[in-house]
Symmetry: none
Subunit: 230 residues, 2 copies
C-alpha cells in the first residue's frame, strides 16, 4: 500500500498557551509538530520540502504571518498554508489568499476543525497519516481503530478500554497512579469511578491473558503498571 511517514507540521503561534494546546492536540493525532513563537524563528526553522502543512498566526512579533508566508512561498510553492487570525476582516483574508494561503481560520476556533482541515490537505497532497500501532507482547493495538489483534483474533475495544490501554502503554513499565488514570479518563476520582476502573483493568487482563508475558500489576493503594517481560 502507500507509504506512511510521520506528518510534520510547522506551527507558528505567539500565544504560548494556545500554541501548546494546538501542539498537544496535533501530536495526539500522531503528527510531529514544530512550534515557533515568532516569525523570525519560524523563518529560520522553515526548510523546504520538510513540512507537510504550515499553520501560521497572522499577528506575530517581528515578522508577521503574511511576510512569513511570502518567505515560505519563495522556497516551497506547494506546501499548504493555513492562517489563524483573530478577526474576520475581508482584507486580511484576501491578502492571505493572494499569498497562497490555502485555508484560513478565525479565532477562537474549534481545534477539531483545524485537525479536519489539515487532514483535507494531507489527503489532497496524497499523504497519509500514520496509524498509531502499538506492539504489546504479541498483540497489536491500533489506537485509531481501537482494535487489539493477535495472530488469529481481533478484539474490538470500547472507548474506555482503548483509552485505558493506551494510557498504560504510554507509561509501560511505569506505575500510573489511580487518581491520574481516573482524572484523565473518567474526569473524576470518586469511589465509583475507581470501581469502574477496576472493572476495566480486569477486562484488559482477560483480553490479553493469552500472552503470559503481559501483566498489569497493581500496587496496593497506588495504581497500576503495564509490564511486558523479556
Amino acid at each position: 500500500m502507500s507509504e506512511v511517514k510521520q506528518i510534520r507540521i510547522l506551527l507558528v503561534e505567539d500565544d504560548e498557551s494556545l500554541g501548546f494546546v494546538i501542539k498537544d492536540n496535533l501530536e495526539q493525532q500522531g503528527m510531529h509538530v514544530v512550534l515557533a513563537m515568532d516569525g523570525e524563528v519560524a523563518q529560520r526553522t522553515f526548510t523546504p520540502k520538510h513540512f507537510d502543512v504550515c499553520v501560521l498566526d497572522v499577528m506575530l512579533p517581528k515578522v508577521d504571518g503574511f511576510a512569513l508566508a511570502e518567505h515560505i512561498r519563495l522556497y516551497d510553492k506547494d506546501v499548504p498554508i493555513i492562517f489563524l487570525t483573530a478577526k474576520s476582516m475581508k482584507e486580511d483574508r484576501i491578502k492571505g489568499f493572494k499569498l497562497g494561503a490555502d485555508d484560513y481560520m478565525v479565532k477562537p476556533f474549534n481545534i477539531e476543525e483545524l485537525i479536519l482541515r489539515i487532514q483535507v490537505f494531507l489527503k489532497r497532497t496524497g499523504k497519509q497519516q500514520p496509524q498509531e500501532q502499538y506492539q504489546i507482547g504479541y498483540y497489536t493495538f491500533n489506537v485509531h481503530n481501537m482494535e487489539l489483534s493477535a495472530r488469529d483474533s481481533l478484539k474490538q475495544l470500547t472507548r474506555k478500554e482503548a483509552d485505558l490501554l493506551k494510557l498504560l502503554f504510554d507509561n509501560k513499565e511505569n506505575m500510573v497512579a489511580r487518581n491520574v488514570i481516573l482524572k484523565q479518563i473518567w474526569g473524576t476520582d470518586d469511589y465509583f469511578a475507581g470501581r469502574s476502573m477496576d472493572v476495566f483493568i480486569s477486562k484488559l487482563r482477560k483480553y490479553m491473558s493469552a500472552d503470559q508475558r503481559i501483566e498489569i500489576v497493581n500496587h496496593h493503594g497506588i495504581g497500576f503498571k503495564l509490564t511486558i517481560k523479556e
Copy 2:
C-alpha cells in the same frame, strides 16, 4: 460534464493469469487496456501517440522488455513506461531507467499501487481519468455517475448515498468517526443529522447485502468502518 477520452494502457505481460488480473483491474478503473503476451506482438501493436501509459514486463519471450522500451522510445519519447520486474537486480533497474523507464515495480506487487502510479503519470501528463471507479467486493462503484453495479444489477445512488459510500471506501478497513462523517457530509453533527446518517448506513448495507464479504460495522458511540473480507 465534458466528454473525456478513455485512457489507453499498453500492457505487455507473458504470464497469462497475471496479465488478465491486471487488465481486469485497470478496466475496472475505466481504462482501456490492450494486453500483449510477448514483445514481438507488442512491438507490432504499439502505435505512437496512441497509448497514455505502457506497462512492460521485463522478461518476455522473443523481444524482452528493455528492447521493447527502446523500440517504443524511438517512436514516442514521452509516453510513460513502467517496468514490471521479477527480480530486484540493480543492473536491471539502471538499464531500464536509462532507456526512459519512468517507474518500475518489483513482483509480486500490489495492484492498487500500480493503479496509483499510473494515476500519477496521468496527472503529470495532464491527462485525467474519465471516471473514478472503485471495486467494492463484486460491486463496482462509479463515483461520477453515482452508480453501484454488480454483474447483473445497477443501482443509481443518490448524492448522499454516494458521498457516504465514497467516504467509507476512502477509509476502508478503518474506522471513520461519526462526527467526521457528519461534518464532512452533513455539515453539522447534531442529533438529527446523526439519525439521518444511520438511515443512510442502513440503505448502503441493504444495497450491498448480496456480497457477504462486504460489511459496514458500527462501533458503539464511535463510528463506522467498511470492511471487505479476503
